[in-house]
Symmetry: C2
Subunit: 300 residues, 2 copies
């Protein structure tokens, strides 16, 4: 059961002390049910994550960040005809409505969080490369804080399948879905969908394989990265950490490595944002796939 | 003079022992006059570079690799009208023919090496992510070795300007040319061109700023990355190192960091390949910019 090549990271259950508090605060502030793969890998560099998050929590708990994520989500539709009617496929495989509803809720939660993490990693990558991220003039209504904590109806913590404990067949499938993206490991999203291996297989081979890394997909990923950069610059407060600030706390390899990891995940999350919106489009159509199902209540 | 934010790396003159031998062998095998920024940064991870290079020297010293680099170079033309007649600009700034010839030779050398490094970093990134890189069936004539050592007329080692020792004005210019690419630091190529600050200024602000990171530029970079992946798979021998092989030699952060650094430089070098071909096009036109000026002699 250990053919799967582990990627270094600190999983939810293994975070302790300051790191556990950081993980919890990320989930509660972003109002999402998981800590991104990116953050779990960044946690292997002790000096970075708690500091970077402390400097970002304020800006990411605002209506500005919520709206920016909404815009990135809306932009994520590929505009290609879904290759599969996923609802029909699940019904004919004997899925009842409750099970379909569970998958729908999970997909909506993932789509809610992915563009937030895209914005966060973009800001962190830019700042670590010694460019501005945040600190813009923002109207007061967008500076306002959103309520902290998970919205009603959202899972507080999605369980991720551990690939190293999975069957060889499921390990192979998780490697395949990462490889078709040219990724270094499976996104959290696929580790969640791995609870339903037959679903993940259709998602991988019938829905994603035909579109991932096509010219149109890559053009969309590029659009998201470019727009996320602009939106990150517009955050109401400066966020993240400059590389030079960690010069004494990190080895040269760690400083270079952090630069690379941040750069890589900015693009990784853009891909996953597109891919999971596309999967959801196959289930519920483009409008449901690209809107927030957990809108922040308007101030009274 | 130290406002410039140093990026961790081991420069040519600081490499010693096994690392120095690796640097020398990279230059002589690839027949290029510098060790790429990517390699100098990878040198900060002690376990990686000498091993990865030992496993790659054979495949990269073949006619297959030479031809693959030629193809990537030919594909690197942007197809946009040069914004500046660089030859005319240098003449009217009082440059004599000798000085223009020196810059021409340097540009041709950089264009010769960049697509080779793109192929190398692509292969290393893919293999580190546990995917195949090389080991394909290749006809004997392409498996044949190219002569080791620098071609006639090539500088053996291009001197790179040290940004930390440069004037504040030149530091600002080097940061600007990196920032317009959204890069973490200036490519070796720009550190070479920095010997002629007025040239680098025209290159940055008049030639590159109008095209870098446009849709067409990013589409071209994507084309190079996709094609480099295919060409890397076709190398006559397996190259590089799998992440799991370094599990005991590296910390988790180093393993994650290497993954990110390799991923980042694959894209970084695709950008630089395009940018320097475009600069050369402004000097000598598209045909001269996109062909090898150091072709391997045909076997007799």
């Amino acid at each position: 059961m250990t053919t799967f090549a582990h990627f270094p990271q600190v999983d939810h259950g293994d975070a302790a002390g300051e790191l556990e508090a950081t993980y919890d605060d990320i989930r509660l502030t972003l109002r999402v049910p998981w800590v991104a793969f990116a953050c779990r890998v960044l946690a292997t560099f002790p000096a970075f994550l708690p500091l970077a998050w402390r400097r970002s929590a304020g800006a990411f708990g605002t209506r500005y960040a919520e709206q920016a994520a909404d815009e990135l989500r809306e932009r994520s539709l590929l505009g290609v005809e879904p290759a599969l009617d996923l609802r029909e496929r699940l019904r004919s495989a004997g899925w009842d409505d409750d099970r379909v509803d569970t998958v729908r809720r999970v997909l909506n939660e993932l789509n809610y969080g992915n563009p937030k993490y895209l914005l966060l990693l973009t800001a962190w990558s830019e700042r670590f490369q010694m460019r501005a991220a945040g600190g813009a003039q923002v109207p007061d209504d967008l500076r306002a804080a959103v309520p902290k904590g998970h919205p009603e109806g959202m899972d507080p913590l999605l369980p991720l399948v551990d690939p190293e404990q999975a069957s060889v067949q499921l390990q192979t499938l998780l490697k395949r879905v990462a490889d078709i993206h040219y990724h270094h490991g499976p996104a959290s999203d696929f580790r969640v969908l791995a609870h339903w291996p037959d679903l993940l297989e259709s998602v991988t081979d019938e829905i994603l394989a035909p579109v991932v890394r096509t010219e149109g997909y890559d053009a969309k990923a590029r659009e998201l990265v470019v727009r996320a950069r602009e939106l990150a610059q517009g955050l109401p407060e400066p966020v993240g950490v400059e590389r030079t600030e960690l010069a004494s706390a990190c080895t040269p390899a760690e400083l270079a490595g952090l630069t690379g990891v941040l750069f890589m995940y900015q693009r990784f999350i853009a891909d996953i944002t597109i891919s999971i919106v596309h999967v959801t489009e196959c289930l519920d159509g483009p409008a449901a796939a690209s809107r927030s199902h957990f809108p922040v209540p308007e101030p009274s």
